[in-house]
Subunit: 213 residues, 2 copies
């Protein structure tokens, strides 16, 4: 499972999302999975072969076996602890996001540098001093950190987390973070998403350059 390609890993949660709704089916075909996930069936079969399962020709995959297999491959076997750094609007909202708990992620704490917020409880989650971040991380209080700070401090936070042994970060700050090898950062840049959508609104009526073919 170790050398599963990143693109395959990125598709596994989509397959899992589909399987979550197929509990009343004994089997699903690679075509079923493909259609629901927006990829093609050979790709689904190749992806699942990395998990050591090939399905049964003409029958498909056994739902009750495939679902736990994907969950185990993704490491979703127990509850995973998540800290949110930055208790601003976004951090507080993420603390209340029901989708995390329903998929086995437990938000253990919010961290903020503003003393006025320390000790407050948001959606049942305590806000702790940012100064405790490294010690809590090193002590195993959480495995994944969500960075919801302003862009200016995100790099410093990521470096501090990495030094404390945090290997997985989800970054919402509009800044590209540089982290040591072995640390995974996934970026969710909300403004970038809107800027991409803006393109497709077709606001421009510029003459097309000759090259584009």
């Amino acid at each position: 499972v170790r050398n599963t390609p990143p693109a395959t890993v990125a598709r596994l949660p989509r397959y899992l999302q589909y399987l979550d709704h197929q509990a009343d089916h004994a089997t699903v075909s690679s075509e079923d999975i493909a259609r629901a996930s927006g990829v093609n069936a050979p790709q689904v079969r190749r992806d699942l072969s990395f998990l050591g399962t090939l399905g049964t020709r003409g029958v498909g995959y056994d739902v009750s076996r495939l679902r736990p297999l994907i969950m185990r491959a993704l490491g979703l076997t127990g509850e995973l602890k998540v800290a949110i750094v930055g208790a601003g609007n976004l951090g507080q909202a993420l603390a209340g996001y029901r989708g995390f708990a329903s998929r086995g992620f437990q938000v253990t704490a919010l961290y903020d540098s503003d003393p006025a917020k320390h000790g407050l409880v948001v959606h049942d989650i305590p806000i702790r001093p940012a100064a405790r971040l490294a010690a809590d991380a090193a002590g195993g209080e959480f495995a994944i950190a969500i960075i919801a700070t302003p862009a200016e401090v995100a790099g410093k936070v990521a470096a501090e987390l990495a030094a404390a042994g945090v290997k997985s970060m989800l970054n919402f700050a509009p800044a590209r973070l540089t982290v040591p090898a072995g640390v995974q950062v996934r970026n969710v840049d909300l403004s970038t998403e809107l800027q991409i959508l803006s393109f497709y609104l077709g606001g421009t009526s510029e003459p097309k350059p000759a090259e584009g073919t």
Copy 2:
């Protein structure tokens, strides 16, 4: 600009983010842009050629010309109006997300089906009845919709928006939406992001199947 490849469009906001911080430089090289954006320099040059600019060999790109060129290509010339559907935790937080306004996106309204929320104002943005959504969309009150509803109703909301002429949607609900041709949906599935990160925590110590090579 019309037949710019989607992958190029998706990279333009990153280049723009870099240029936003180069106002004190007259020129930047494709290597500079590439390094800051995590792509290679030939790719940068190819992407920018779609905008009709080739840079000057040995000099690079004129910052004061390139920045507006990218903004115009992305349609970021005026203020773009955005509605947020779903005034739960996530929708309310998105309403207060400063990154939108700073990049020229104006959130005009939140919409919710809960009458208890109607008329409330969150981060200076009014919460309106979901029943007004189609009429407001058709009336041009917003061009982009952010879907922050529960998964169960996201499909219905997307269909209603599409029917009212909304061409661009950013979906936060953990559901794959089916929309008519010509409508762009970008998905931000927060749980999926965490599940992908979970893989890299290496929770499993399963024997690796023979195939994976």
